[in-house]
């Protein structure tokens, strides 16, 4: 069906499915491939940051720059693996690891207080001042749920 799945063989689909731990069905992978090809207009094998920013819904998102850093230079297999955290079939552990990676800007496996403040700054822009951010950090707000953080 459709003229792009002829470029993806059954082997390719299964390989991608394995790589993302079965979080996507085969039909979903075919759809994602069509989307990948649509965004990768010059067929360079990855989607340039510019293309993501040409999607207005993505460009207005406050966390778009962080995600762009993670999306840079991904080939299709890695693209699917990136999106697998959003699948309803992904485990909670997987989703939390993804959020952790978004926070961990310097990719050293640790999330520091300043990194948390930095995400808060992205989300609130100029509408919360530096002092207010510090206050938020130090008020000792309670956690309702235990989130296992490595």
């Amino acid at each position: 069906m459709g003229n792009t799945s002829s470029m993806l063989t059954q082997y390719d689909i299964e390989e991608v499915q394995e790589h993302c731990n079965e979080t996507f069905s085969q039909q979903e992978i075919v759809s994602l491939y069509e989307r990948f090809c649509q965004l990768d207009r010059n067929s360079c094998g990855f989607i340039p940051a510019d293309e993501f920013l040409s999607v207005p819904e993505f460009a207005v998102n406050p966390l778009s720059q962080r995600l762009l850093r993670m999306l840079d230079g991904l080939n299709f297999k890695e693209f699917v693996a990136f999106l697998s955290a959003f699948s309803p079939r992904a485990t909670l552990q997987h989703k939390v690891e993804f959020i952790f990676k978004v926070y961990d800007t310097d990719c050293n496996g640790k999330v520091t207080f300043s990194e948390m403040l930095s995400v808060l700054r992205d989300l609130t822009g100029q509408f919360i001042s530096e002092q207010q951010r510090e206050i938020l950090g130090n008020t000792g707000l309670k956690m309702e749920v235990e989130v296992p953080v490595d």
Binding site: S31, V55, N61, T124, Q126
Partner: protein, 376 residues
């Protein structure tokens, strides 16, 4: 085609070969429910709603969908259909196409040999000259439509030449203009194009009255707005046709209408155009092909089939802003032509969204956090 009432996904949207995107994304643009109660740490740390919105946009977004050409599925894949299709190709390219080029050439000869003398000889008698020129432009447009074997069905009362009225239509390709022009000689507002199209614009279209704009000029908007107002006031001028989307959309969706046409203080007559893709997709994807290639594609297909509906004229209601008026008319056109509405500005094809959209999201989040912090 032409569904009145609710805008349901047509069967081509609910393509059962592909997962339905609407199953995955929550409806509406705001996923966050109104937060209440004491602020907890997890409300600050849990960025998953924002991330889900971003991922949703990566996987599919309503803006890119508006400009996607949807090629028809190939059907010629077996022993007897393929030769039949090849025969069809031969007929289209070697029989129909030359015949159409001939028809078009004859049309141009007739047109130019009448237009040029009339234009220069009747210089003094403007009323007669305009009448004849109007008629001739309608004729050449009919020749164009014939050259693609256009099967156009017009519904509704024909536009009449009255002052203080403006026509708006959804936009799929520049041929929209030709199809409408063959019925009534409209004046039009267009982006100035290079090449032979630009030449046509500056000579022949001048005679029916045309207004140029340049998308890239920032100050252009005020100049154009003034020209529009002047034109509409003039009693003699041909009725003005405006495509408020500002760009070609793929005839399954409508993007937001620009309010320029709706703040001129006159009646707005909506026109809905829907193409039937049975033989060819009339969407001109200006990123993928030039207008010449697009015309050639139309001339080598069997026919261009479309419906045109002239809808009831609308006026600004008391207490309604021009933007609300534009949305109301867009609604009328979308329902008539069976198109889905998307909340994006067509010009985002050429530029990034302004930072104020992101800032609004940031402000909403910041306000709710601060408010809840107080609620201790």
């Amino acid at each position: 085609m032409g569904s009145t009432g609710k805008l349901n996904s047509s069967s081509s949207e609910l393509d059962l070969d592909r997962p339905n995107i609407e199953d995955y994304l929550p409806s509406g643009s705001s996923i966050q429910q109104e937060p209440h109660g004491k602020l907890r740490l997890r409300d600050l740390l849990d960025i998953s709603p924002t991330l889900s919105e971003a991922a949703g946009a990566i996987v599919d977004d309503s803006f890119t969908r508006c400009f996607k050409s949807n090629p028809p599925e190939p059907w010629n894949w077996n022993v007897y259909l393929f030769p039949l299709w090849c025969f069809g190709v031969v007929v289209r390219y070697l029989v129909l196409f030359p015949a159409r080029v001939l028809v078009l050439t004859i049309g141009w000869i007739i047109f130019l040999s009448s237009f040029i003398p009339v234009h220069f000889l009747l210089k003094g008698h403007d009323k007669w000259r305009k009448k004849i020129e109007r008629f001739l432009v309608e004729i050449i447009c009919s020749f164009f439509v014939a050259s693609w074997t256009g099967v156009v069905k017009y519904h509704g009362p024909r536009p009449s030449i009255r002052p203080k009225q403006v026509f708006v239509a959804n936009h799929t390709s520049m041929i929209d203009f030709i199809i409408l022009e063959q019925m009534t000689a409209f004046a039009v507002i267009m982006q100035k194009h290079p090449g032979w199209v630009g030449l046509l614009q500056s000579t022949i279209l001048e005679s029916v009255g045309c207004i140029w704009f340049n998308r890239s000029e920032a100050k252009d908007r005020e100049i154009v707005a003034k020209k529009l107002r002047d034109h509409v006031q003039g009693a003699d001028n041909n009725p003005l046709l405006i495509f408020p989307e500002g760009t070609c959309v793929n005839n399954h969706y409508t993007v937001m209408f620009k309010k320029g046409a709706f703040e001129l203080g006159c009646t707005v007559c909506p026109v809905a155009i829907k193409y039937n893709k049975i033989f060819v997709d009339a969407f001109w994807n200006s990123r993928k092909q030039s207008f010449t290639m697009h015309l050639l594609q139309l001339m080598t297909s069997w026919a261009v089939v479309c419906d045109v509906w002239y809808l009831e004229p609308q006026t600004l209601r008391p207490g309604e802003t021009p933007i609300e008026f534009a949305e109301r008319v867009r609604d009328i056109i979308s329902v008539r032509a069976g198109l889905k509405k998307v909340p994006w500005d067509g010009y985002l094809k050429y530029s990034r969204p302004s930072p104020k959209h992101r800032e609004r999201k940031q402000q909403n989040f910041a306000d709710s956090v601060l408010r809840r912090l107080e609620e201790k």
